[in-house]
Amino acid sequence: MISRFGAFLRSSIGKKALMAVTGLLLIGFLIVHVVGNLTLYADGDGTQFNAYAAKLEALGPLKVLAEVGLTVLFLAHIALGLRTALENREARPERYKDLAPKGRRTMASMTMVVTGAVLLVFLVIHVIDFRLADFSKVGLAKLVMERLTSPLGAGIYLVSMAFLGSHLWHAFQSLFQTLGLRHPSYAPTIKWVGSALALAIAGLFASFPVLCMMFEGQWPWS
C-alpha cells in the first residue's frame, strides 16, 4: 500500500495532484482567514477582532492541531512547487533564444514559481509580524493597525496581495485540470469562479492596508 502511494507521489501527475489538493485546502484556509479578518471592520477599537482572536486561542489543542495541519499543507505545497520547478528546468537544459507565446499562456500561468516564491517570503514576514509577536499587552488589533498604517508595512502587504491574486488567478482553474475535472459544460464556470475568487480574496486582504491607511480605524460606517 505504502509503495503504491509512493510510486504515485513520485510520478509527475501524482506530484501535481498533491500540489492541487494542498492548494485547494490552502484556498479554503485563505477564505476562512479573510472572512475572520473582516471583524476588524466591525468596530473602531478592534474589540470584535480581538474577541475573534481570543476565541481562536481558546480552542487550545484544536488550534495547535490546525496550526500543525496548516504548516504541513504549506510545507508540502512549497516543497512540491520547488521540486517540480527544478525538474522543469532540467527538462530543458539548453534554453531557447526566446520562447515566444503561441496564444494560451497568461502572465499568471507563466509566473507561478515567481509569485509562489514571493508569497513564501511574505508568509515568513507575516508569521513573524502577527503570529510570533507578543501582543498580550496591546491586543492584536492595535498591532495590526500599527503595522498596516506604516508605509513599509502597508507596502509589503499590498504588493504581496497583488502576487497572491496572480497566483490564485491561475491556481484555481489549474487545480481542477490537474485533478482531471474538466468538461466543456463546466470548464468556463470553473474559470470565472477562479478569477472571481482570486480577485475577491486578494482584494479583501488588500483592503486592510488601504482602509487602515485611509481611516486608521475610524471607519466611516461605524
Partner: protein, 267 residues
C-alpha cells in the same frame, strides 16, 4: 512578378539565424545567412531548401532538418521559428507555413525543438524516439480484436467516437513538448490515452496503459505540466488540453484501482 528589376517585387530578402550543431555532443550556435529573392509562395521548408542550395554552391555544409510528406500529416518536420514551435500560424506544421507570413527585410531565428528528452542530432534535427518509447509501453491494443465488426455490432457512443478521432489526429511531431515552457509531454500522452481508451477495443487495457506510459514519460525526463496550455496552441492538429485532463483523471483512478497481474501479497 515579371522582370525582377524592382528590388521588392523580386521576393523577400531575409536574414536567417539558424542553429548549427555538428552532433549531440558538440556545442551549438546560431549562424547568420542572408537570403535574397525568396518567393512568398514558398513553404518554410522550401525556403530552407533554397538556403541549402546556396550553402552547397558556396561549398558549405547544408542545414540538416527533418521533413517527409510536406503536407502536414506525417509529423516529421518541426522547428522553432522566432520562438514559436512550427512558427506563428495556428494549426499549421512547419511544412505548411508559407513565406507570405513574413515580410521583406525580416530577421528569422530558426531553432530545433528543445528538450532534454529530444537530444539534438544535428542542426535542426532532434531525436524524438522518446515518443516511440512511450508508445511502446502501451500505446496500442495488445489483443487480436478480430475481423471488422458488423455495423452496430460493437456500439460506440457518437461522442466517444468523435473524441477518440480528434485525439487520433495527433501526428506525434513533438511541438507540444517544444512549446511547453516546462518541456512536458502531457498533450502527446493525453492524446494516446484518449484515442485508445475511449474505444471498446482499447478500453480493457486503459489502466495498465496509462500507468506504463506515464512511467516511461517521467523516465525520459519530460517536465511537469503547469496547465499553461501553450501545447494546445502550438499543436498543428489542435489537440485539446481536455486530453490532458483525461490523462490526469485516468492516471489517478488507475493508481488507486489497477490490480497488476502479479502483485506480492500485502504489497
Amino acid at each position: 512578378m515579371s522582370g525582377g528589376h524592382d528590388h521588392h517585387s523580386g521576393g523577400l530578402n531575409l536574414t536567417l539565424h539558424v542553429w548549427r550543431q555538428k552532433d549531440a555532443q558538440a556545442e551549438g550556435r546560431f549562424e547568420t545567412y542572408a537570403l535574397q529573392g525568396i518567393s512568398e509562395h514558398c513553404s518554410f521548408l522550401e525556403m530552407l531548401d533554397q538556403l541549402n542550395e546556396q550553402l552547397l554552391r558556396e561549398g558549405r555544409d547544408p542545414v540538416a532538418f527533418d521533413h517527409d510528406c510536406r503536407e502536414g500529416i506525417c509529423g516529421s518536420c518541426g522547428v522553432v521559428i522566432n520562438g514559436q514551435a512550427h512558427g506563428p500560424d495556428r494549426e499549421t506544421a512547419t511544412c505548411q507555413l508559407h513565406m507570405r507570413r513574413f515580410h521583406d527585410g525580416d530577421t528569422i531565428y530558426v531553432e530545433p525543438f528543445r528538450a532534454k528528452a529530444f537530444p539534438i542530432q544535428r542542426d535542426l534535427v532532434v531525436d524524438r524516439s522518446a515518443f516511440d518509447r512511450i508508445v511502446s509501453k502501451g500505446g496500442f491494443v495488445s489483443v487480436n480484436t478480430g475481423a471488422p465488426q458488423d455495423a452496430n455490432g460493437l456500439p460506440v457512443p457518437k461522442e466517444n467516437a468523435d473524441l477518440a478521432m480528434d485525439a487520433a489526429s495527433c501526428i506525434g511531431c513533438g511541438a507540444c513538448v517544444a512549446a511547453c515552457p516546462n518541456a512536458a509531454a502531457m498533450l502527446f500522452v493525453g492524446a494516446k490515452i484518449s484515442h485508445l481508451g475511449l474505444l471498446p477495443q482499447g478500453a480493457p487495457e486503459r489502466r495498465r496503459r496509462v500507468l506504463a506510459m506515464v512511467e516511461q514519460m517521467d523516465r525520459d525526463g519530460f517536465g511537469n505540466c503547469g496547465n499553461i496550455y501553450e501545447c494546445e496552441a502550438a499543436c498543428p492538429k489542435s489537440i485539446s488540453v481536455e486530453n490532458i485532463a483525461r490523462l490526469n483523471r485516468e492516471y489517478i483512478v488507475a493508481s488507486a484501482c489497477e490490480r497488476p497481474a502479479v502483485e506480492r501479497i500485502g504489497d
